[in-house]
């Protein structure tokens, strides 16, 4: 697969999975606002993550850990959640997107 396609597919899979997982767990009333926020958080973190992992060959766990914390912080401050809740949401969503990415790779 071409590098540019890898990037774009990775972004689409991440946004789709994380949005889906967080909305399912949280079931917010203001779902549109949540949806926009999750897309924005991913748009903020995904390009730097990809750059560090795939171009600079940065350590995987360190980068994924940073993304987890950053997204959790975003959810906490934007929606006034507790740290516990936001870390759970961010962690499960990130884990799901990683697994979804791995599953997709099996079929292409």
């Amino acid at each position: 697969m071409y590098f540019e396609d890898v990037i774009l597919w990775a972004f689409v899979i991440t946004v789709f999975t994380e949005t889906f997982v967080i909305l399912i767990i949280q079931r917010p009333k203001e779902w549109v606002q949540w949806l926009i926020t999750i897309v924005c958080l991913n748009a903020l973190t995904h390009p730097p993550t990809l750059y560090l992992l795939h171009i600079e060959n940065a350590p995987y766990i360190a980068v994924e850990g940073a993304v987890w914390l950053l997204e959790a912080a975003g959810l906490k401050y934007l929606f006034d959640l507790t740290w516990r809740r936001s870390l759970i949401l961010s962690g499960v969503a990130n884990l799901a997107s990683i697994l979804a990415g791995m599953a997709v790779r099996l079929f292409i």
């Binding site: 748009a43 795939h54 060959n57 995987y60 994924e64 790779r105 292409i108």
Partner: protein, 440 residues
């Protein structure tokens, strides 16, 4: 808190599934770069080693700097990259003074050094080939000078074989007439011939550009063999590879470097038939105009082929013109000869080679591990004429190449992706302000 710990634990469990140097994680660990086809030379000739000579590929300055070494000893089945600045191949007789080891130790040379100035002053070096001898493929340009496109545009397609004009206005019209105007009849220096030549060249340039954009071959490998009589390298063909279709082996006439596969078949092969159809549709008026100019010349001089012999004008039959239009509109199926297709089992695929060591690591005379690497997969029976052909692996792009591919990508989605963090930051700021405003 237990749940957070569980999530962290799961993330840690995933760690071993990812290699420390990140790749796309799939079965093929090499990213493919859409920007640019890799062009290289391979000598898949095991007999080369038995020869008293060895060959060294002297890279162009630009390629030498890119690869970090000025030259490489040619080993069977390794692919030696070249760019628009070409490269030179030296045949060297092994002596006590000159051995392959002398060329493998790059430590005392700069990456833009050249072989003649460092080795050939006394004796023993013969310039076997300049890469331009293999790549000087007929192009659509009206001059013979090598341009960037001549080397990159290695398809064998010539404008005259795909433009449905009433006469075949081939390379002699577009190149030789422009270069040697006095050697041709007076009509070639006057209108309407000059107008026609200008229009034809303009069309050829546009067509060339469009084909380059649609051509997504991953690699073009020039295949050369050692000629047993002359002990020189002779071009035998090209191996084209794609990321997602079977490789093909195109035969090339070594004498005039013409391709045995015709241009329409190549258009089908590289998946550019649609682009060709759209091109003809867009430029039908230009083709008509060229035909009109040809009619004018015919009225004045009679049948142009009879009058001026075939170097300039070769009359084209109605069937040949019809064939081009039919191919473009899809009513004519053109199927390339099946013999050129190689199934993945016909070609020997070597394991991914490690990047070549730094210059300083070439300190001994024996080939490096990379150079000694042999096939790891048993080769399935191949047709006799394909016995010698093996696909060499794509090399993992460097960080710089990846960075360049992403930052300079022309793909609008990739460009949007690059500005996403800024847009996202502004979006999040707006959401925050909106929430604060609403809470007041």
């Amino acid at each position: 808190m237990k749940f957070v710990a569980l999530v962290t634990f799961c993330l840690l469990l995933l760690a071993p599934t990812y290699p420390s140097s990140a790749n796309d994680g799939g079965s093929d660990p090499t990213f493919l770069m859409r920007s640019g086809t890799e062009i290289c030379l391979t000598v898949p000739d095991q007999n080369m080693e038995k020869d008293p000579y060895f060959w060294v590929f002297d890279y162009s300055h630009s390629m030498g700097e890119k690869l970090g070494r000025p030259w490489s000893v040619i080993e069977p089945n390794e692919c030696y990259q070249f760019d628009k600045n070409g490269g030179r191949i030296f045949r060297i007789k092994e002596t006590n003074e000159l051995s392959p080891g002398s060329f493998r130790d790059h430590s005392s040379f700069k990456s833009n050094d050249s072989i003649p100035s460092n080795f050939c002053e006394s004796t023993g070096c013969y310039e076997d080939r300049s890469i331009s001898e293999f790549t000087n493929i007929f192009s659509a340009w009206p001059d013979l000078g090598l341009r960037e496109t001549d080397i990159i545009f290695n398809t064998g397609i010539t404008a005259d074989s795909v433009f449905p004009t009433n006469y075949n206005l081939g390379i002699l019209t577009t190149q030789f007439v422009a270069l040697h105007p006095d050697a041709f009849p007076q009509l070639t220096r006057e209108s309407p011939f000059t107008d026609m030549q200008e229009k034809y060249t303009e069309l050829a340039e546009k067509f060339q550009k469009e084909i380059r954009e649609c051509d997504d071959r991953q690699r073009v490998e020039y295949r050369a063999e050692v000629d047993k009589e002359s002990s020189r390298l002779e071009l035998k063909g090209q191996l084209w590879t794609w990321p997602d279709q079977d490789p093909v082996l195109i035969d090339i006439h070594p004498s005039d470097l013409t391709y045995r596969t015709d241009s329409l078949e190549i258009l089908e092969l590289i998946g550019c038939r649609q682009v060709y159809a759209e091109f003809l549709e867009t430029h039908q008026k230009d083709i008509d105009q060229i035909n009109k100019w040809l009619d004018e010349l015919e009225k004045e001089h009679g049948n142009l082929e009879e009058e001026f012999h075939d170097p300039i004008f070769i009359e084209r039959s109605d069937e040949a013109i019809e064939e081009m239009w039919s191919f473009a509109d899809g009513s004519l199926e053109v199927t390339p000869d099946e013999e050129i297709f190689l199934s993945p089992s016909d070609v020997e695929v070597k394991e991914e080679t490690e990047p070549e060591p730094e210059i300083s690591s070439y300190q001994n005379d024996s080939p490096s591990e990379t150079e000694k690497e042999t096939s790891t997969e048993p080769r399935s029976p191949a047709p006799p004429d394909q016995e010698e052909f093996a696909e060499t692996p794509a090399s993992e792009p460097t960080k710089e190449k990846k960075r360049e591919t992403v930052l300079l990508s022309e793909d609008p989605f990739v460009r949007l992706y690059l500005v996403l963090p800024i847009l996202a930051f502004l979006g999040l700021l707006s959401i925050l302000l909106y929430r604060r405003y609403r809470n007041k």
